[in-house]
């Protein structure tokens, strides 16, 4: 299939301005800036059914509609803090198809009447930010950004801003705190960013992949986009496939392909042909899904994965085979979440500390059945009590592993009386 987002895989040198222009680049931005009202752009994106690709899946157009028109200026902030273990899609877009992304940034900014956009990249993307800066300068020179975009009165300045190694900054309010020069710790919500965001001003925070969808949606229309994917979740998605598969990588596919197609057709199956054991569909934040036939034939859209007791999130599919011990796995995820807990709320700060303490003991074979019970209890006590979703995330793999794979924790599976 031809790619919509990873178009650089079909067209060489698409990151060069002249090539991108020749391939229809900036046509969508021109159409929007010279011929559409901002509200009409928002309505079109609303009608397309596009939902945020950062993980939460919130309808993009609706988010834009929430922007407070009685408080100015407005900002667009791009979440390019991609840090979820198992997620590496935004990096490929930023490296190889950056102009389509930047065109998307400009379209979003026009739609919400913002004149400044910040691209917040994780610090590790330092070389990517340096390249983006050059492209932003080239786009300004060509009249696509900066003063008088396409000769109109519309002005847009785009800046990059580097984080410095903090997973929590992928949470949008923590990201805004960080951009304001503070420690990246989440804010209490409401108010949500479209009402009070950067510097207390209405702010739209969108993910890189979300924005990269905008130029093709503007060019081809809402109905075209809705014709892709499933009734539950429209459009295409970059699936990040990693773990125990032969061909890990990014696969751009319509929503609705099954786990089986993704893992066995695209990913080439499991390394050494070992049987598959479990799937984490949304990176390290996922609940584990038992990889039986029913799971493998489940279409990948938000609703279907939710019905399996998990979430699709940013579609970072980590594949686990029979060689993977889950007491080892949850110690890995807890190492991550303990390290990345921002320390603001007690359930996450203390909970992740104690969970890591227990997972380490259990992994090393020094845990008792009581330890496993205590671990499960700490995780469940945290659920629903953390300031942001990331505290909640830390409990998902722990609770689901103990529940669905008790054998990995020395517990005999309960046999139901029949």
């Amino acid at each position: 299939m031809t790619h919509i987002l990873l178009r650089h895989r079909d067209i060489p040198d698409l990151d060069k301005l002249a090539v991108y222009e020749k391939q229809g680049g900036f046509k969508a931005l021109k159409k929007v800036v010279t011929g559409m009202r901002p509200e009409a752009v928002t309505q079109l994106v609303m009608d397309s059914g596009l939902r945020g690709r950062g993980g939460a899946g919130f309808p993009t157009g609706r988010k834009w509609m929430f922007v407070d028109k009685n408080n100015w200026p407005h900002y667009v902030v791009v979440n390019a803090d991609e840090s979820e273990p198992g997620t590496f899609k935004d990096r490929e877009i930023l490296e190889s198809n950056p102009l389509q992304f930047l065109e998307g940034v400009a379209i979003a900014a026009f739609a919400v009447e913002a004149h400044t956009a910040y691209i917040y990249l994780r610090g590790e993307f330092w070389p990517i930010a340096a390249e983006l800066d050059k492209r932003i300068a080239a786009m300004e020179k060509a009249g696509y950004l900066g003063k008088r975009v396409f000769g109109t009165d519309y002005t847009l300045k785009v800046h990059t801003h580097l984080g410095a190694g903090a997973y929590i900054c992928g949470e949008e309010t923590a990201l805004l705190e960080s951009l304001e020069g503070k420690r990246g710790q989440p804010r209490i919500r409401p108010p949500f960013p479209p009402v009070s965001g950067l510097y207390g001003k209405p702010t739209v925070v969108n993910n890189v992949e979300t924005l990269t969808n905008l130029p093709p949606i503007i060019n081809n229309g809402a109905d075209w986009y809705k014709s892709l994917g499933t009734a539950d979740t429209v459009g295409v998605k970059i699936f990040c496939l990693s773990g125990r598969v032969r061909k890990p990588g990014n696969y751009e596919l319509p929503f609705g392909i099954t786990f089986r197609e993704l893992i066995y057709e695209h990913g080439g199956g499991i390394i050494d042909g070992v049987p598959i054991k479990a799937i984490m569909a949304a990176g390290a934040s996922s609940a584990l899904i038992l990889a039986d036939d029913q799971t493998l034939d489940t279409p990948l859209d938000y609703g279907s994965v939710h019905r399996l007791g998990a979430e699709l999130g940013s579609a970072s599919v980590i594949v686990l085979d029979e060689t993977v011990r889950l007491d080892w796995l949850i110690d890995k995820t807890m190492t991550f979440f303990k390290h990345e807990s921002c320390g603001k709320c007690t359930p996450c700060r203390d909970g992740s500390f104690w969970m890591k303490h227990l997972t380490e003991r259990i992994r090393d074979g020094n845990g008792s059945a009581e330890d496993v019970k205590l671990l499960d209890s700490v995780a469940r006590q945290m659920q629903g009590k953390c300031l942001c979703a990331l505290g909640e995330f830390s409990t998902q793999a722990v609770v689901s592993s103990i529940e669905k794979f008790p054998g990995d924790f020395g517990i005999k599976r309960k046999v139901s009386a029949s």
Binding site: E82, P85, G165, A166, Y199
Partner: protein, 165 residues
Amino acid sequence: MTLIEKYPQEVKQILARYPQDQKRSAVMPLLYLAQRENGFVHRRDMKDIGAMLDITETDVASLVGFYSLYHDEPAGRLRIQVCTDLSCALRGADDFLAALCESLGVEPGGTTPDGLVTVEPVMCLAACDKAPLFQVQTGAGLEYHERMTIEKTLEWIESRKEAAS
């Protein structure tokens, strides 16, 4: 020498990116600038940045402590950070780190006696399909080395040694 004396152009450019009444936003890029020369942020630079942005030295230090890419003490000139997070670990990253440390004769987090190389594990680097991989933080920036082997890594370290001598 203060930061603004040392890098007048860059400080000016950084400050220009943010609204004039929100200059605190410049603290993170300024910390990267302060870290450029020696790979860590010196106390006097924290004070200097604080004065420039009308925030306290403690505010600045709290950011250095919070974000893992800022350092407040010197390490090897090449800070090799191996991703050992879940997806990479499923493809042998833990073994890679252990073997690399053994080859260099250091513990994870340690620095070689010549002060050239520090090796440490880090959290996910968003390149899960290219394990084993590491990033190298130098004063001038940051680079990725993907799909690595111990041999390739040692060769690369040698080449950097030669370049440095």
